[in-house]
């Protein structure tokens, strides 16, 4: 019995959409556009986050040791660092090695180093952290603890700019949330308005259906299906458009992006995020229909 009812509902839904083709298309476009804005924002955010994560992985702690430490004292510091749970590996860099590396990095300007009477660079330890600790909070904590070790003169981990970058990403994330809620609300209003038009245009049919004994849910279900389709359709449309825009970006701006983001290639939204967006579209449809139903229930 329910299968036949579903069949009638599907027929009614198709009929509704056909009869109000223009309104439904307008609504679909509006929902698609608002979800496109949201999806674009998410795409930018996930790519920036990927850059942040990649750079976070590159972060390492440099421990500058006091000059004049004996080999034994240096070994003691190195052992204390290696013993820490967060540390994956430690590499000693002597002042001579440091100077050579600096010379290589300076290239043609390295000749200025030749005039130095003594090597000003201190001995250092390059500390690499294990994967779970390669984030700013963990690095900061480990750096703070290591700076207190006897024999350590200074600690550096390039945290200042990373902090600013992550703060920027955090702001973007909050903006995405607020903007997302606002855009989803706008989509709900758009779909709800289309449904309201549908309710008004089928007012007589609804009245007849009620009089012949149709349940409220029998009457509502085609509208529910219609709004669900609009929500999902809008999300799919937004994702499709975004994919086309993304491909265009990759072709035209890919090199510039790679230069900006290191060797990170721009990537499209992940499958879970794509599914989440479609689910959000569906939820927008469901909420719109429930909001509309509450205004059109039979009053007795």
């Amino acid at each position: 019995m329910w299968a036949y009812k579903l069949l009638y509902h599907l027929k009614t839904t198709v009929q509704n959409i056909r009869e109000h083709r223009a309104t439904v298309l307008m609504s679909l476009a509006a929902v698609g556009f608002t979800l496109l804005l949201l999806a674009s924002y998410l795409l930018l955010l996930t790519n920036l986050q990927a850059i942040g994560e990649r750079l976070g992985k590159e972060l390492q702690i440099m421990l500058y040791l006091e000059t004049g430490l004996s080999g034994k004292e240096r070994a003691r510091v190195q052992d204390a660092v290696t013993a820490r749970e967060e540390v994956e590996g430690v590499e000693y860099c002597s002042p001579q090695e440091a100077l050579r590396s600096l010379g290589e990095a300076m290239g043609e300007a390295a000749h200025v180093l030749k005039g130095l009477e003594e090597n000003p660079l201190p001995p250092s330890l390059e500390v690499r952290l294990k994967k779970p600790y390669r984030n700013l909070e963990a690095i900061e904590e480990v750096a703070r603890v290591l700076s207190e070790l006897k024999g350590v003169a200074d600690v550096e981990y390039g945290g200042g700019w990373m902090k600013r970058f992550f703060a920027f990403v955090r702001v973007l994330r909050w903006l995405a949330l607020s903007l997302g809620l606002l855009l989803l609300f706008a989509s709900v209003i758009v779909i709800s308005s289309t449904l309201t038009l549908g309710f008004y245009s089928r007012k007589e049919e609804i009245e007849i259906l009620r009089l012949v004994g149709a349940t409220e849910w029998y009457i509502r279900f085609p509208f529910f299906l219609e709004s669900l389709l609009q929500g999902i359709g809008g999300a799919v449309l937004a994702l499709g458009l975004l994919w086309i825009l993304f491909q265009g970006f990759r072709v035209n701006m890919g090199t510039s992006w790679s230069l900006f983001a290191g060797w990170i290639q721009p990537h499209f939204l992940s499958t879970p995020m794509t599914i989440t967006l479609i689910f959000l579209g569906a939820m927008v449809g469901v909420i719109s229909s429930l909001l509309t139903f509450s205004r059109f229930s039979e009053e007795r």
């Binding site: 036949y4 009620r210 009089l211 007795r300």
Partner: protein, 236 residues
């Protein structure tokens, strides 16, 4: 046959009375009283006319029986159900057992005659084949089998009303309510519709027909009650 009652205990047991109104009052917002202290009992299988001028409360009476309007005061029992405080689930069941016919036919112009009749069957989740077959038989019973694919706008007033009757009867209702069913029809067509109702009545259906046309009860030879400004003015 006595239709007016007083001080009778409300019983929802299924008995010979299919519709029972006990001191029913219906007041619309703004304090307009459409029905005042009306008590009526209708026997199973009875054919009863409700007469009265416009605004007498005939439509309101039918609407509260169908559960479209709520009773403000008093009690209403239809086929053993106390409609006064009926839950929604039972209300839809009540409506499936009650057919209705209105003066303005209430047919959907974008559907064929057959599809209009089928609407009442589809809500029950019957297979499409059975829906078509039963809708066709209902149309044949009112003499419109050959017009099943026609749009209501292509049918005459009398034919449109017969399509509405077919839709009302397709679920074999226990009660058929008709509100001014001949209001838009000429005398000849009105008699045709009444003949149709007499046939339906012979099959055991209870009929309540609201009309301001004084000649119809006499034509059918059936009893009537008269409403005047919401009050029961004449019984039997």
């Amino acid at each position: 046959m006595p239709h007016e009652i007083s001080n009778m205990a409300v019983s929802t047991e299924v008995n010979s009375k299919i519709i029972q109104l006990f001191n029913v009052t219906k007041t619309y917002s703004g304090g307009v009283a459409a029905l005042e202290d009306v008590s009526v009992q209708v026997e199973r299988g009875e054919f009863l006319f409700i007469s009265g001028s416009s605004g007498a409360g005939k439509t309101t009476l039918l609407k509260i029986i169908l559960g479209v309007e709520r009773v403000t005061q008093g009690q209403l029992v239809v086929n053993g159900r106390n409609v006064t405080r009926i839950p929604r689930r039972e209300l839809t069941q009540l409506r499936k057992e009650t057919g209705f016919v209105f003066q303005d036919f209430k047919l959907l112009e974008n559907r064929s005659a057959l599809e209009n009749v089928a609407l009442a069957l589809q809500i029950r989740g019957l297979p499409p084949g059975e829906v078509r077959q039963r809708a066709y038989h209902a149309l044949r019973a009112v003499g419109l089998a050959d017009k099943r694919d026609q749009n209501p706008l292509c049918l005459s007033g009398g034919e449109q009303q017969r399509v509405a009757i077919a839709r009302a009867l397709v679920n074999n209702p226990l009660i058929l309510l008709a509100d001014e069913p001949t209001g838009n029809l000429d005398a000849g067509l009105s008699r045709e519709i009444m003949d149709q109702f007499l046939e339906i009545h012979e099959r055991g259906t209870t009929l309540l027909v609201a009309t301001h046309n004084e000649s119809l009860p006499a034509y059918c030879g059936k009893s009537r009650i008269v409403l005047d400004q919401g009050r029961l003015a004449k019984d039997g």
